[in-house]
């Protein structure tokens, strides 16, 4: 499968076929998601309308963890099998994951101001999410530190694998320590604890964010694949 996709012509055919569908799906899900989130979902008994920040904060947080997990898996594949497509996918995922973790921190901070009375606390969940963001930045910096990008791939992949130790800390920080952040209300052992009227917009927004993630990763992987191909052709003196 990986070898099948590593051929640029084939990869282009697949991306050209996928792009309009992904774009259409993204626009549809985003419009429906924003409508439900801002106009149709009820206010929370305690938080009032501020709960609407949840519909952008929680999908961003899920995606930042999911993208780091994918980054670690791709890095593992690259370290073990040295397949270039795993490295290209890692390079495509990292900036998107970094953006989502930054958005998690920013929207969380904006939500925290009216609810907790402060923009930031050195709380276990917030701090571990900040560390996740720093790992993303570290990966990007290390993989771009060399003139020939492939030279930075291996140390960056190692960093990504080491950083994966932070993922369970982010997820379970609210259970392991006393924090200001509320505990999990969806992915938890006791089942979902939020009302369906809030769950539906949350799921729609999550699907929209995941579609965005797939779309941008495909676009970026396409660009990186070409950049590397052109670089190798230049080195070989063929262009």
């Amino acid at each position: 499968m990986i070898d099948y996709l590593a051929n640029p012509s084939r990869f282009f055919r697949i991306t050209n076929f996928l792009l309009p569908w992904l774009m259409g799906l993204l626009i549809t899900l985003t419009i429906i998601g924003i409508y439900f989130a801002l106009f149709d979902s009820p206010e929370d008994l305690v938080q009032g309308s501020a709960v609407r920040i949840m519909y952008v904060h929680v999908p961003s947080a899920w995606l930042s963890i999911f993208s780091y997990l994918l980054l670690s898996i791709c890095s593992f594949f690259f370290i073990v099998w040295r397949h270039p497509l795993a490295d290209i996918l890692s390079g495509s995922i990292a900036p998107v994951g970094a953006l989502f973790s930054l958005l998690t921190l920013l929207t969380g901070s904006i939500w925290g101001r009216p609810m907790w009375g402060t923009w930031w606390v050195w709380d276990a969940r917030l701090t571990s999410m900040l560390i996740l963001f720093i790992f993303f930045l570290g990966y990007i910096a290390l993989s771009n530190a060399f003139e020939k990008n492939e030279r930075g791939s291996r140390p960056a992949a190692l960093l990504a694998i080491v950083g994966s130790i932070n993922l369970p800390i982010v997820k379970f920080s609210v259970d392991w320590w006393n924090t200001l952040h509320q505990p999990a209300s969806i992915i938890r052992t006791g089942g979902i604890s939020i009302d369906q009227s809030m769950l539906v917009p949350l799921i729609i927004m999550t699907l929209a964010f995941h579609t965005f993630f797939i779309l941008v990763v495909v676009l970026r992987a396409h660009s990186i694949l070409i950049e590397r191909k052109v670089y190798h052709l230049k080195v070989l003196g063929k262009i």
């Binding site: 309308s49 501020a50 904060h57 953006l99 929207t107 904006i110 101001r113 660009s223």
Partner: protein, 53 residues
């Protein structure tokens, strides 16, 4: 603290979070799409004309 919790007008915080989120997502999408178009043109002009690839 009382003032913060009793004030139920959170519009500023809600719109700020949505503008930051969707603004940055749209920026990344446009940036990635432009990069995609540039690399696609590069591919068609350089790589497809090279018989050795």
């Amino acid at each position: 603290m009382e003032t913060v919790f009793n004030n139920n007008n959170y519009d500023f915080f809600i719109y700020l979070s949505y503008i930051i989120t969707f603004g940055s997502l749209i920026f990344l999408l446009i940036f990635s799409y432009l990069k995609f178009l540039i690399s696609k043109n590069l591919y068609s002009t350089i790589i497809e004309n090279n018989n050795d690839t």
